[in-house]
């Protein structure tokens, strides 16, 4: 067991080393002093209170979207719909706020969150139902549905939900104070982060300790065997797809309420797909998703700031993320193959 853990540590170490090396090469190619830029990236990610607040603000939607992808992933489903479910949750949550803007915060925030979760869940339910009853590939459906809800937000904020006083700016009215998620004063760390961490721990317990855990594991491992012993694959497909959707929906309304303060076209900077990759890297294990989402959140926040203050091109943030995911996926695979080679 000990040796097993050590080999994992070695893999993680080599992965980090490869990522840092590639990042240095990237900065060098940009014609910037590589080590200085790397140091700046780290400082912009975790260097002071403001940076940490930025990192955690980016971590929150990534963490929620990763959990949203991991939940159906436990059953072996590949859902790439967190982005669309995030937007669906934002729409449903905003609808709740627009319907009852005068409610006090203590009522409005739960109402808004619940509505967003239901909106996201409905958006996960549809591909779940199609998969369960008609055996239609959930990956394709979730992928194409992403575009629908993103464009639906556009239709709403350019159309019926547009703030008449905004003079052409496509957005809803600013959320009333009661609809803003409480945050740590002076920072962008909001209730959503607490919710996300609690969800990660709750899901970990659900997937490892509950009576449902073995059922999901059996169906994921061998559907035929599960059905032989009276488990209903279709039920679990729908349930887990909807649960994942609900989590992504919360990510959506959290961004709208706590970060943007109103519904407008660009809520998410690809958090859905980033979350999918985080979930995949963490093998759908909520407790591993926690640190991985934090790491990715740091890279996103750090490279955003780098782009502002160090005059690197705007694409750098995406390139750095890409390098991180590519090394994290490739290095363990390469090392495993090398080990098999040695064993021969």
């Amino acid at each position: 067991m000990n040796g097993f853990n050590r080999s994992r540590l070695v893999i993680a170490g080599v992965t980090c080393f490869a990522f840092i090396t590639l990042t240095l090469v990237f900065f060098a190619l940009l014609g910037k002093p590589p080590f200085e830029m790397l140091a700046k990236l780290a400082i912009f990610a975790v260097g002071d209170a403001y940076s940490i607040s930025q990192t955690l603000a980016k971590t929150t939607p990534i963490l929620l979207c990763a959990l949203a992808a991991a939940v159906p992933g436990r059953l072996g489903l590949i859902s790439v719909g967190a982005e669309g479910q995030l937007y669906a949750g934002a729409i449903a949550g905003t609808a709740a706020v627009l319907a009852a803007p005068a409610l006090p915060g203590i009522l409005l925030v739960p109402f808004m969150l619940m509505s967003a979760a239901l909106g996201g869940a409905a958006y996960g339910y549809v591909p779940g139902l199609l998969r369960a009853r008609l055996n239609i590939n959930e990956t394709i459906i979730t992928l194409v549905l992403n575009y629908v809800s993103v464009l639906l937000v556009n239709a709403l904020v350019f159309g019926p939900w547009k703030d008449p006083d905004s003079q052409g700016w496509p957005a809803t009215i600013s959320f009333p104070q009661g609809a803003i998620l409480p945050a740590l004063p002076g920072t962008r760390i909001h209730l959503g982060l607490l919710l996300a961490v609690a969800l990660a721990i709750g899901l970990h317990l659900f997937f490892t300790k509950s009576r449902m855990a073995p059922k999901i594991q059996i169906l994921a491992g061998n559907r035929k065997v599960g059905e032989m012993f009276g488990l209903n694959f279709g039920f679990w497909v729908i349930a887990l797809m909807a649960l994942g959707g609900a989590i992504a929906g919360i990510a959506g309304i959290a961004e709208v309420s706590a970060i943007q303060g109103r519904l407008q076209p660009t809520i998410s900077l690809g958090y859905g797909l980033t979350g999918f990759l985080v979930a995949w890297l963490s093998r759908h294990q909520p407790l591993i998703i926690l640190p991985v989402a934090l790491l990715v959140g740091g890279v996103v926040a750090g490279s955003d700031a780098l782009q502002l203050y160090a005059k690197v091109p705007a694409a750098s943030a995406v390139i750095l993320q890409g390098l991180l995911f590519a090394t994290a996926l490739a290095v363990p695979g390469i090392m495993k193959n090398m080990r098999f080679g040695l064993e021969r």
């Binding site: 369960a132 009853r133 009576r211 449902m212 073995p214 059922k215 594991q217 059996i218 994921a220 491992g221 061998n222 035929k224 065997v225 599960g226 059905e227 032989m228 012993f229 009276g230 488990l231 209903n232 279709g234 039920f235 021969r344």
Partner: protein
């Protein structure tokens, strides 16, 4: 005698803790058929995979033509004239026979149009070996026996001097096996060295010249055929004297009907069942005989409640156990041993203990239903480690694991599909013993088998399944013959056989 074409010189192979092959010394000569005989996991396949270059030996060396082997992989082995026919074929079922042959042939020209004269040699072997096979047919349309012949053609096309067969008859019907034995003899007479890995004595009796017996990784005996009695070879293989003591369970005194299959119709891609009716009493063993692919798999899945019926019903102990729609939730109360346990009966990523407790886990129970240690020991699952992942077990041991789960406690109905497939003799005895003990305790047993001899010895009645219909249900009163059942299975001379 001529010089050996292959020599194993003190060869060992270790996989982590496991010593799969232990100091093997063996010579193989051209023009002979050498049978390598042993139980599951005795190291037969590993030994030959070392020759084929899949695993290099841990210690010792392999000599080919009296020079140390430099083979580093299957491609290398093929160019050195070594071919291997695997237990699970490496073919592309969606392509035609012709494409499969050309893909595996090193001399295939760039242009493989039908008229290109340079592709003719690749097809000649096929027309010699199996003239009835249409090279334009998709491989998936061929029977398993024909697919194996295509696999053999691929090996012959590389003009192999050494041909290795890995358990070639385990998927074949008796007739297909007989013709394969003929091909194997022919190969040896043409001067090739043929190595036949098997655990079936019938293969050895039919075509081996020499017999090497392996047990627990070591070669324990090499003899010319005829030098030793078969019983002697069996005891060498098993390490202890084993008598084949298969006998039918005693029928119960009072006949109480227990398992009803009532006018069942069902459809699945490539198979259909028409109006199947069969009633099995307490303590009765009913065998289903039939050529593979006549609806056995579908029948099993319908009775086990996995595949929905289109009409009809299956009733056990007075309650329906059939599935009527794809989305029904249904836990079968049968003890069900499906074919191909790795695909159909276990969860690879779970431990042996959890696999034995799947029924309880699926119900959401907190505590274990059964004691895994006892079951693993009773059913001889090797290694008997409850915390090991099921995916790491060999095929034979998985089969034993499934038997342990399904037969470990009393069931009122049992459905066993090829329950001894891939098992060695000791394990076969054990599994049959457990099934028949259940029958004597009052279970109704439906037993789908391809082994007519076993069915004739141990089943109370034998039903014959052909093209999705039960064409006959015969009481096994001692007057039934192999030929009679065989005729019913193939549909030839039905009137004569039925008379």
């Amino acid at each position: 005698m001529t010089a050996p074409i292959v020599q194993f010189d003190g060869v060992s192979r270790r996989f982590g803790e496991l010593l799969a092959v232990d100091d093997a010394n063996l010579e193989i000569y051209p023009g002979e058929v050498l049978a390598v005989l042993g139980e599951n996991g005795a190291g037969k396949s590993t030994l030959m995979k070392m020759l084929y270059g899949i695993h290099p030996p841990s210690t010792g060396r392999i000599l080919i033509d009296e020079k140390p082997s430099t083979i580093e992989g299957p491609a290398d082995a093929m160019s050195n004239g070594i071919g291997m026919v695997f237990q699970h074929f490496s073919q592309l079922p969606a392509l035609s026979v012709y494409d499969n042959l050309l893909l595996a042939w090193p001399q295939t020209p760039f242009w493989t149009g039908r008229r290109n004269p340079r592709i003719a040699p690749a097809l000649q072997t096929l027309s010699r070996l199996a003239p009835e096979v249409n090279p334009r047919a998709k491989l998936a349309e061929l029977s398993v026996g024909e697919q194996q012949l295509v696999e053999l053609c691929k090996v012959l096309n590389i003009s192999a001097r050494i041909v290795i067969f890995d358990e070639p008859t385990s998927v074949l019907t008796p007739a297909e096996a007989r013709s394969l034995h003929g091909f194997i003899r022919q190969l040896a007479e043409d001067g090739a060295a043929v190595i036949l890995i098997t655990h079936k004595l019938a293969d050895v009796e039919a075509c081996a010249d020499r017999i090497a017996v392996m047990r627990r990784g070591g070669i324990v005996d090499i003899s010319q055929r005829g030098d030793r009695e078969m019983s002697e070879i069996v005891s060498l293989m098993m390490g202890k004297e084993v008598k084949r003591t298969l006998s039918a369970p005693k029928p119960l005194k009072r006949r109480v009907q227990q398992l009803f299959i009532d006018k069942v119709c069902a459809e699945a891609p490539g198979a259909a069942l028409h109006d199947i009716s069969l009633t099995i009493a307490r303590g009765e063993v009913v065998g289903i005989a039939g050529v593979a692919g006549n609806g056995q798999t579908l029948l099993a899945e319908v009775v086990a409640g996995i595949h929905p019926v289109t009409s009809g019903d299956v009733v056990l102990d007075g309650g329906s156990i059939a599935r009527f729609a794809e989305n029904d939730t249904l836990a079968t109360s049968l003890g069900y041993i499906p074919e191909q346990p790795r695909q159909n009966a276990v969860v690879d990523g779970m431990t042996l203990a959890r696999n034995l407790n799947l029924r309880a886990l699926a119900k959401g129970a907190r505590s274990d239903e059964v004691n895994p240690e006892d079951l693993l020991r009773r059913f001889n699952v090797n290694p008997p480690e409850p915390d090991r992942l099921a995916g790491t077990l060999s095929g034979g041991n998985l089969q034993k694991l499934v038997s342990a789960r399904e037969l470990g406690s009393f069931r009122s109905g049992i459905l066993a599909c090829y329950p001894t497939m891939g098992l060695d003799l000791a394990a076969i005895e054990m599994v049959y013993g457990e099934i028949f003990a259940q029958a004597e305790a009052g279970a109704a047993v439906l037993w789908i088998s391809e082994d007519l001899d076993d069915l004739l010895v141990a089943a109370h009645r034998i039903a014959v399944l052909r093209e999705g219909r039960l064409v006959a249900i015969k009481t096994n009163d001692g007057t039934l013959s192999r030929d009679e059942i065989g005729a019913l299975m193939t549909g030839l001379n039905t009137s004569e056989a039925a008379a």
